[in-house]
Point group: C2
Chain length 97, copies 2
C-alpha cells in the first residue's frame, strides 16, 4: 500500500463526506441506472425542490454527477462507474452487519 499524504487523506474524507448525507445518498440511489430531471428526483426522494437543488450542486461540485440541459429541464446522471462502485460497496457492507 502506497503511503498516503495528509492532503490525500483529507481529500478522501471530503469524498466520503459527500456520501454521508441521506438526501444525497437517496439522489445517488435513484440515479444508479438512469438519468433524471430535477423534478423527477424530487418526487422519487421525497424532498423539496430547493433541498434537492442544493444537494445536486454539492454533488456536481464534487464531480459525482454530471448534467445536461434540455429545454426547460436539467437531466442529472452519475459521473462515472466509480460512484456506483462506492455506493455498492457501502451497500454490501450493510448487508454483512
Amino acid at each position: 500500500m502506497e503511503i498516503l499524504s495528509e492532503d490525500k487523506l483529507i481529500d478522501m474524507a471530503e469524498l466520503f463526506k459527500i456520501f454521508g448525507d441521506s438526501t444525497r445518498v437517496k439522489i445517488i440511489n435513484v440515479l444508479l441506472d438512469k438519468e433524471l430531471c430535477v423534478c423527477e428526483i424530487c418526487d422519487l426522494v421525497n424532498a423539496s425542490q430547493s433541498a434537492v437543488s442544493h444537494q445536486l450542486r454539492v454533488l456536481k461540485q464534487s464531480k459525482l454527477v454530471k448534467y445536461r440541459k434540455e429545454g426547460n429541464c436539467t437531466y442529472y446522471s452519475l459521473s462515472d462507474d466509480h460512484v456506483k462502485k462506492i455506493f455498492m460497496l457501502g451497500c454490501e457492507h450493510l448487508d454483512e452487519m
Copy 2:
C-alpha cells in the same frame, strides 16, 4: 439491483459519514496493516489523545474498529476487510480525478 429501503439508505449515509472526517480517515489509514495502541495512533495522526479517543469511540460504536486491552494499553485494529475495501476504493477514486 435490489430496491433499497429508505432505512437502508439512511444507514448507508451513516456509514459513509464515519469515513467523512479527516481524523477518522487518518486513524483508519494507520490501522490498515497493523493494530496500534492509542498513543501510537496519536503520534501517527498527529492529534491530541482526547480527540483520538473520542473518534475511536465513534469508530468503535459503528463497528469499524475492534480493540483489545493489554495491561495499560488498548490496541485498536480494523474490524474486518470491508473497512479496508471501502477505504481503498475511495483512494482509487481520488487517483482517477
